[in-house]
Amino acid sequence: MVLERTSIPLYWRDRGIKYRLLGGECKSCNRRFFPYRKVCPHCGSTDVNKVNLPRRGRVVSFTVVHNAPRGFEYYTPYVIALIELKDGTRLLSQLTDVEPDEVREGMEVEMVIRIHRTCGESWLIAYGYKFRPVLKK
């Protein structure tokens, strides 16, 4: 099998990030960021709290992936979007439950958990956040 396997320690360490949008809130510069890191990427402070970020936001920009990296071929074509959450935090995520030609800048989206990749039939199923158009406003 040529397919690159998901690293178990990495997946396990990041499960709060992948499942709950665990971000950081810097007590020094009052800015939030995603994913959670011990050091604030804005000011370098280590005075950072863990925070589950809001699950809703809007699409700032997006692109359609037709030629996927190894391990993601089964899901093409899929959309990767830059999303601004309700609190202003920005992150990159796949969109789901939407056709590429239906995606618009400014589209309201909400977080769901979906399969990211499976790595054949014997290895770990990697789950994590994706965003879809809001179901109910």
């Binding site: 040529v2 499960r15 709060g16 439950d97 958990i113 179901l135």
Partner: protein
């Protein structure tokens, strides 16, 4: 069965994937006449998972919706159970994924997957009622969810669907619906099974009817009503397991329930049989609309075989939480039709080259 202290439903939630395939399209793929072969089962279309969905992702959204309505801190939940026959892993619990994703119980929770064909979700519900009712825990989370398998070309392919529902169970005083009594009835009846390592279940066609579905549902329903001295006239709604569109109406008729009491919770005609999700999605659809003081009879059925029956009474607290999460009909109305090719791809019936790189 009655617990020591009052137990009820504190929150409920459902989830149905966006994709549908018409049963006419399924018949077309296998060169069959839909009218002759499939029209009689009264399921015109069924739900199927998106390419990135499975029982865990379905359970997650149903449970998230149930927690929105329950309005409790998930850290107070002491039991997390997922009833399913389509576990993402043969060995590795779905429940622990749910605990992690929903931040349940500060990890101090029992967690397990239940299997009992289509009644795994209500079997888990019985366990949660016991734990809450005895005072061992304050709240329990119960999910019934499936991405049901039906072999390509088999009769089951016309109904085997995807979806799930979740209940947060808690003390009676917090409940939007009290579970006043419950009863289970099981016997060794081999009407449907899936052997270890098999992709698709085997079933015994007509044998799945009288000795299996009808016998167990009627035995459980009658025994429960005898035990608590109720009759069909006492109920405003009845929800029976829904393997197709006609069985629930027929079993209701045999027991003495009018179709009007069954139809509000009969959602299989829109989305097919969601197996472990079936009776619980039906209950969710009823809770979405039932006024306070409504009485609901829920009877599940799982092959192998058995039924769980529940007597539920809606309280006036229900009006406060109904709008806090999407309803079953919100999910049913959100749909995109696909053809058999996309169906086969989403259901992962297509096997890729191991080192497939796309181009």
């Amino acid at each position: 069965m009655k617990p020591d202290r009052d137990v009820g439903i504190v929150g409920w939630g459902a989830y149905v994937p966006r994709y549908r395939i018409r049963s006419e399209e399924l018949a077309r793929a296998w060169g069959r006449s839909w009218k002759r072969y499939a029209a009689g089962i009264m399921v015109e279309e069924k739900s199927l998972p998106g390419i990135d969905e499975d029982t865990f992702t379905i359970a997650y959204e149903a449970a998230y919706n149930a927690l929105l309505r329950a309005r409790i801190d998930p850290r107070r939940i002491g039991a997390t159970y997922v009833g399913t026959e389509s576990k993402p892993y043969a060995v590795k619990p779905t429940a622990t994924l749910l605990v992690e994703a929903l931040d349940i119980g500060e990890r101090r929770t029992t967690g397990a997957d239940f299997e009992f064909a289509c009644k795994a979700g209500t079997e888990a519900l019985q366990a949660a009622i016991g734990l809450v009712g005895s005072g061992m825990i304050d709240y329990g989370l119960v999910v019934g969810a499936d991405t049901a398998q039906g072999a390509p070309g088999d009769a089951l392919e016309y109904t085997a669907a995807s979806g799930g529902a979740a209940l947060v169970i808690g003390p009676g005083k917090d409940s939007v619906a009290l579970i006043k009594a419950s009863l289970s009835y099981v016997s060794d009846t081999p009407d449907f099974w899936r052997r270890q390592h098999e992709r698709y279940p085997a079933h015994t066609r007509a044998f799945t009817g009288e000795p299996a579905y009808f016998h167990h549902i009627m035995s459980a329903a009658r025994a429960l009503m005898d035990q608590i001295n109720t009759s069909p006239e006492d109920y405003d709604y009845a929800v029976f397991h829904q393997p197709n569109g006609k069985f629930p109406l027929r079993v209701g008729q045999k027991l003495g329930f009018s179709p009007e009491k069954i139809k509000p919770g009969l959602i299989t005609s829109y989305i097919g049989n969601t197996y472990s999700g079936s009776a619980l999605i039906g209950l969710s659809a009823v809770l979405d609309i039932a006024p306070p003081e409504s009485k609901i009879l829920v009877v599940s059925f799982g092959s192998g075989a058995g039924s769980d029956a529940f007597h539920i009474e809606v309280t006036d607290k229900i009006e406060n939480v109904r709008e806090l999460a999407p309803k079953v009909m919100d999910y049913i109305q959100r749909k995109r039709y696909v053809d058999y090719t996309v169906y086969a791809r989403n259901r992962r019936m297509i096997h890729m080259m191991k080192d497939f790189s796309g181009y």
